[in-house]
């Protein structure tokens, strides 16, 4: 037993010594794996974070979102639909919502008008404010707004200030800031201007009795899908449930991340080939060494063990460090260069950081595509060397 432990300890020491002796091979593998895993982990961790953020938002979204469809396009929905939908068994509440976009400077902001019934219907206290307060039903039609950090920084406004926004119908609208969303909620609120429903309708010059969409809350005892199925006969209605929203967002972020992952997987294959080529070159150099070791009594398994330990050390060192660097690159630097691939035409306001989620699944996936190929590409040449007749190996190496 002690002999076995001592033997493996000596083999370990010999492996570690090889890492130092074959400096060029060690450096090539370390650098290439480090770069590849840094990039791929930054993308995967960010993709996972975006997906989780989408999940959180979808979880909190209304059970059903209703839109009016005309000619395959989304149009404003008439208030008569509130009555139609409210009569359906299982529907607890139908809230009207008007929202849209307002361009200010080079940015586009999201203007949201909330139904006063919905403000009273809130299931909890809004704590995501840095300053001021959230809207109440009494704010209906008063011009009071709550704004996100992006707008607050851009216009240098604080709670208590008045701002004038020019609508798309070229009318000036004066608003009074009563609340400012906090940094912690910026990923959700950075671009938002929240106001009452009637203020939003006035800002967007909406026709009387028309809204952007309806939010339907289903009774907790009812299944939203079965309630939605009862709405199928209502004309021109497009029904979105939470499951559909979640699948859509996951498909979008997943596909974007997937394209990048595919490209980097191809690169990883190339890197594995580099590692293989290095192992062959060094293998040629070490043929003499292997022959000598076998003459001294090393078995084929001992030689494979030496190379296996070398690869494991190199693989785990480069991949783990690469993932830590990838995490830092995404979490602290907002992944410049890579984030554009995930966000498409979008931009990322400097007011918030990318959501980064280091999931165990992604970590093990990256290990699987880096360490395992490295093991194969270094152990196979070592095995080929080790099964050669020692005398022949030394003669070939000396020739």
């Amino acid at each position: 037993m002690i002999y076995m432990i001592r033997k493996h300890k000596n083999l370990l020491n010999y492996s570690f010594d090889c890492l130092k002796r074959y400096r060029m091979r060690t450096a090539v593998i370390l650098i290439t794996f480090l770069v590849a895993t840094t990039m791929i982990s930054a993308v995967l961790f960010t993709k996972d974070g975006l997906e989780r953020e989408a999940e959180l938002s979808v979880d909190a979204a209304p059970d059903l979102t209703l839109q009016y469809l005309k000619g395959g396009r989304i149009e404003l929905i008439n208030s008569t639909y509130v009555g139609l939908v409210s009569e359906i068994p299982g529907v607890e509440k139908v809230l009207k919502r008007t929202w849209g976009y307002a361009g200010i400077g080079q940015y586009t902001f999201v203007v949201v008008g909330l139904d006063p019934d919905g403000l009273g219907y809130s299931r909890g206290v809004i704590t995501s404010l840095e300053e001021g307060r959230f809207l109440t039903p009494e704010d209906e039609g008063t011009g009071n707004i709550v704004i996100g950090k992006l707008l607050a920084h851009m216009l240098n406004v604080r709670v208590g200030d008045d701002i004038i926004l020019l609508s798309e119908s070229v009318e000036t609208n004066k608003f009074h800031v009563v609340g400012l969303f906090s940094d912690t909620s910026s990923i959700y609120t950075a671009d938002m201007i929240v106001m009452s429903l009637s203020d939003a309708n006035k800002f967007f010059s909406m026709p009387e009795g028309h809204y952007t969409d309806l939010c339907v809350y289903v009774s907790p005892t009812q299944d939203p899908v079965s309630v939605a199925s009862k709405m199928n006969s209502i004309p021109n209605l497009r029904i979105l449930d939470q499951d559909l929203l979640l699948r859509g967002y996951k498909a979008a972020y997943g596909a974007r991340g997937g394209i990048f992952t595919t490209l980097w997987t191809i690169l990883l294959v190339a890197i594995a080939l580099i590692a293989f080529s290095q192992a062959i070159v060094v293998g040629h150099e070490s043929q003499f060494e292997v022959g000598l070791l076998k003459t001294f009594g090393f078995s084929t398994l001992d030689i494979i063990e030496v190379r296996l330990v070398e690869s494991l050390v190199l693989g785990f060192f480069a991949t783990s460090l690469g993932m830590l660097l990838g995490f830092s690159y995404a979490a602290f630097l907002n992944a410049p260069g890579l984030v554009d691939i995930l966000l498409g035409w979008a931009y990322l306001p400097r007011e918030f950081r990318l959501p980064v989620y280091v999931s165990l699944q992604s970590v093990f996936s990256i290990y699987a595509v880096t360490v395992i190929p490295l093991l194969i590409t270094t152990v196979v040449p070592a095995w080929l060397n080790a099964i050669t007749d020692p005398e022949l190996a030394m003669r070939r190496a000396a020739a």
Binding site: N13, F16, L19, L50, R52, L56, S57, D59, A60, A61, T65, L69, G72, R73, I74, L95, R97, Y107, T108, F109, V112, L119, R123, G124, V125, I126, F134, S185, S186, Y188, T189, D191, M192, C215, L237, I239, Q242, L245, R247, G248, A251, A252, A255, I259, V313, L314, F316, F317, S320, M323, L324, F327, I341, L343, G344, A346, Y347, Y357, S359, L360
Partner: protein, 107 residues
């Protein structure tokens, strides 16, 4: 410490650090419920990215890029960018979006 064990020792340290980070991240995200009340009251399923592109916050369909939005006949949610998937391939779009499934039934 002998110099030859520096690399293996660092490999263990980095791997342990990464595993700790992953475990911390998992626990943080599993208990992540910030802004739940706010998200409930606003009801937007998306996050505040991509607002240079007008469809970002629109529930679901406009996540798929409206690259041909202004071209007559270019249905915004049928035409997708090359960056992301094609809604036509997604069962949800074909089967569950009213007005989307134009399949003719012979009878």
């Amino acid at each position: 410490m002998r110099r030859i064990v520096v690399l293996p020792a660092l490999a263990i340290v980095f791997t342990a650090a990464l595993m700790s980070l992953a475990a911390y991240s998992e626990s943080q995200w599993s208990n992540h419920e910030y802004d739940k009340n706010l998200r409930e009251i606003l009801g937007f399923p998306s996050i505040a990215i991509g607002t240079n592109y007008e469809g970002t916050r629109n529930p679901l369909l406009e996540v798929f890029v409206r690259s041909l939005y202004d071209i007559p006949g270019g249905y915004d949610y049928i035409v997708s960018s090359s960056f992301i998937d094609t809604p036509m391939r997604l069962v949800d779009f074909r089967e569950r979006t009213p007005g989307f499934n134009f399949t003719a039934v012979k009878g």
